[in-house]
Point group: C2
Chain length 496, copies 2
């Protein structure tokens, strides 16, 4: 059965019952990365949050089309050097080469965090035709105007006709007068400071450029998401997500563009993730208060005492609700690492516990099944991961108590145990998508272990304890390891 969900809708500033447009189906659009620099840790948190939301929606029985774009329109300029060889294509800086490097880096990082690829991952440069079409639609409905090859959205006209502008971000147009991102450049061209660019005529040195009815130019930076969400999810879809910092102007302008082009708002529910702090303060490169994912993994940063595995970091992310800020501190990371380790140890034990459970239902069953239910209903309630995890840890305690004999296995029925086992694995590995990345570092340990075994083997041989020597030989063979005694001593290798 499909779960009923409650979502906190940023547009209404309250939790609402979720009603999909089509029963059982969800269209979800999330603003993806700009691929002209390495992905920030804050972005990683956002994409991990939406990955868990995506995975939970699938778990909850929905058929989901999850679209996350790649912003690969880069505003790189011809540096003017080497003009003599401009004709030689290979000498020119190629924005797509830069975009490719960071797209690959982004995908690698998403894989490191064990996230699922979205259903569609459209690129802004791949949808110029659709963006031009949208500008034409907005122009045709009278909510944009052209000036010298550029096209601007007409915000006052939009408001005049009763459309909302500022509803999502809670800003009023007077405030916007002083804040508009486009204030500084080309403001002479705009009729009103709150108007924003839909299409921009390219200057001589702007490398990325496409033909359009108005000029050789490029799309304004809000347009791609409107055009691509419409193309793949329709004019109106269920969920639009992104980081808090995108509420204004990006998402506000997306709403205006969609309403300008076709009269309807794009999404019914807007979900926004909150920011990452570092030692209580906003991350800021200029103040040195920043840490990158790779620094976090390697420990190569003044802000942390050691490196943390990607899954420990991910588990740390899960400690806060997606709508709450999360403060990175070394202490909090260490605590998360410990919790993660405990979780993984218990999960490792799950399959090897061989206890005699009760054949029929018990009192304890009720408690366990109730906690399982809780861990899901917390997720149904606006994807409350930390609360759900708390229930999961209650279940983990029960497993450990069973293992240690503090609870007798006769107090729990076999069927309840099976349900519990299945539920823990599904939630941890499929929904939260954690995996044991500590285990994976085993090859470092292998050399140490093999050295120890070879020393013990030498002792055994010296003692002429052939029974043990045989046992060692057999065990190594079973473990797929080949030992060779040579001139320089004994060496070992995997037996392919």
């Amino acid at each position: 059965m499909i779960h009923a969900l409650k979502l906190f809708n940023s547009l209404k500033r309250e939790k609402e019952d979720f009603k999909p447009i089509q029963e059982g189906r969800i269209g979800m659009y999330v603003c993806g990365p700009t691929v002209y620099s390495d992905v920030h840790l804050g972005n990683c948190r956002t994409f991990v949050s939406f990955d868990i939301i995506y995975r939970y929606l699938l778990y909850a029985g929905y058929k989901v089309r999850y679209v996350r774009n790649i912003t690969d329109v880069g505003h790189l300029l011809d540096d003017g050097e080497d003009r003599m060889s401009r004709g030689a294509r290979l000498d020119q800086l190629e924005p797509m080469e830069v975009a490719q490097r960071y797209t690959v880096g982004f995908h690698d990082m998403m894989q490191i965090f064990n996230t699922k690829a979205p259903s569609i991952e459209p690129r802004a440069t791949g949808h110029i035709i659709e963006q031009i079409k949208m500008v034409e639609d907005i122009l045709a409905r009278g909510y944009a105007y052209e000036k010298d090859g550029s096209v601007y959205f007409n915000t006052p006209k939009f408001l005049e006709d009763g459309y909302p502008y500022g509803e999502l971000s809670g800003r009023v147009i007077d405030e916007l007068l002083n804040e508009s991102r486009d204030n500084l450049k080309k403001q002479d061209e705009k009729n009103h400071p709150s108007d924003f660019a839909l299409w921009i005529k390219a200057s001589e040195d702007h490398l990325m450029r496409w033909p359009s009815p108005w000029s050789i130019g490029f799309p304004g930076w809000h347009l791609e998401c409107s055009a691509m969400s419409t193309k793949y999810l329709g004019e109106r879809f269920d969920i639009h997500g992104g980081g808090n910092d995108l509420k204004f102007p990006h998402h506000e302008n997306e709403i205006a563009q969609s309403m300008g082009a076709c009269g309807t708002a794009p999404a019914n529910y807007w979900l926004h993730t909150n920011m990452l702090l570092l030692n209580g303060r906003k991350m800021s490169k200029s103040e040195g208060n920043t840490i990158s994912p790779t620094e976090l993994f390697s420990g190569n940063s003044q802000h942390i005492s050691k490196g943390y595995s990607p899954m420990s970091v991910k588990f740390f992310f899960l400690q806060a609700h997606y709508r709450s800020p999360l403060d990175i501190t070394d202490d909090a990371l260490q605590a998360a690492e410990k919790g993660f380790k405990r979780l993984m140890e218990t999960l490792k034990v799950l399959d090897i516990i061989t206890l005699q459970f009760n054949a029929s239902a018990t009192e304890k069953d009720k408690e366990i099944l109730n906690t399982i239910r809780e861990s899901k209903s917390h997720m149904d309630d606006d994807f409350n991961v930390p609360n759900s995890l708390a229930s999961i840890f209650d279940l983990i305690s029960i497993v450990n108590s069973l293992k240690d004999g503090h609870i007798s296995s006769q107090e729990v029925s076999q069927s309840c145990w099976d349900t519990l086992k299945e539920h823990l694995k599904t939630m941890i590995f499929e929904v939260f998508a954690l995996k044991n990345d500590v285990e994976e570092s085993s090859s470092k340990s292998m050399d140490g272990l093999m050295q120890l075994i070879l020393e013990l083997r030498a002792d055994v041989r010296e003692r002429k304890d052939w029974t043990t020597a045989d046992k060692i030989r057999e065990s190594l063979k079973d473990a797929g390891i080949q030992v060779k005694d040579g001139k320089e001593g004994t060496s070992w290798s995997y037996d392919i």
Copy 2:
């Protein structure tokens, strides 16, 4: 110093000295996968071959822009079912969702084979504007004509004006009359059977479609590579590569399109990889004579006796020159696996050999340095990987002889040893991009080893051999392993 190279140019059917258009720089375009099904093993071989070529060009001192496209224009049709809900976007089959699934699968497979991402990976759907522009250019120069919303290349006119058609594939136009791929459909629209489509008007049920000056339609399947290679590498670039099966009509038509649009052929050197056979015969699904990469890895196929690791398969690919066919047989795979294992074992030994080498140059040095030179000159000679590998294996033999004492370390100078070590690692890990994927399966072995150690530990304790017990404790601690003695016996875990 940049290496001088010889390339076998398919266009000339002979080996030529390679002269880049710009000194020290190479623009290379390789036809990538169509992402509407899983990547074939034959494609994997092609992309692995070009990956090694790309890596070797970098090693040889060139600055390379390597472009490999993704063909994501899919010819999926609206199945006509469920017409009532056609307005509901989520109910419609979305070609990009299919393309995304197989693009991700393709990237995963390329990662499994340890290939580098190309410098740019353009998508056909992302370059419709550029393709339309190219059709306009061909029309403007008189080498195409429009019929009922579709545009066709005018092959007879092209030949009439003295341009070559059939030069790459060695076909003459009379032969083409009976072979043209487009023969069966719409041939009534074409003036001549050898003409081919540049733009195709979309039928009612064709899902992917874009506006153009001629019709709402989609580009012909040869056009994307011409448009994208021109965009990212210029009208004329150095190397164009692909599988042998693409020579005709795809590459032949690419040449015609470029010449038709701007008068020059696109690439100076055409490189083509040869095909994979299975048990001496062409792979064919209908005859059951086929094997997929995953079947090869898992062993789940009637054609092989067991699974082979991805690196064993890659090493098998390296046994043949890229221009030769390669026959997959279980015996050949087993032989490759053995050779690969031997290679990895020797490379593992490289860093741990502690021999006293000669302080000054020796006679043996000359032989070693000469073999190193050979291993490179084979690669300079049209990327002859098998010959280069043979030289590498001569070096491997020397390393093994040194290790076993068959050659005294005094016969080799320290500086020569350092060069040898560096060269082997660079060629194997950086150029051929192999890695020890046997090592990585160590976690399976870990459990077996730990079980053995814990048993030995119990024996030792029973014997009250505290010295050995202490040694075991210390070694495990050093290996990062924590042992807990509990009620249910002893368990172990990694010590985070």
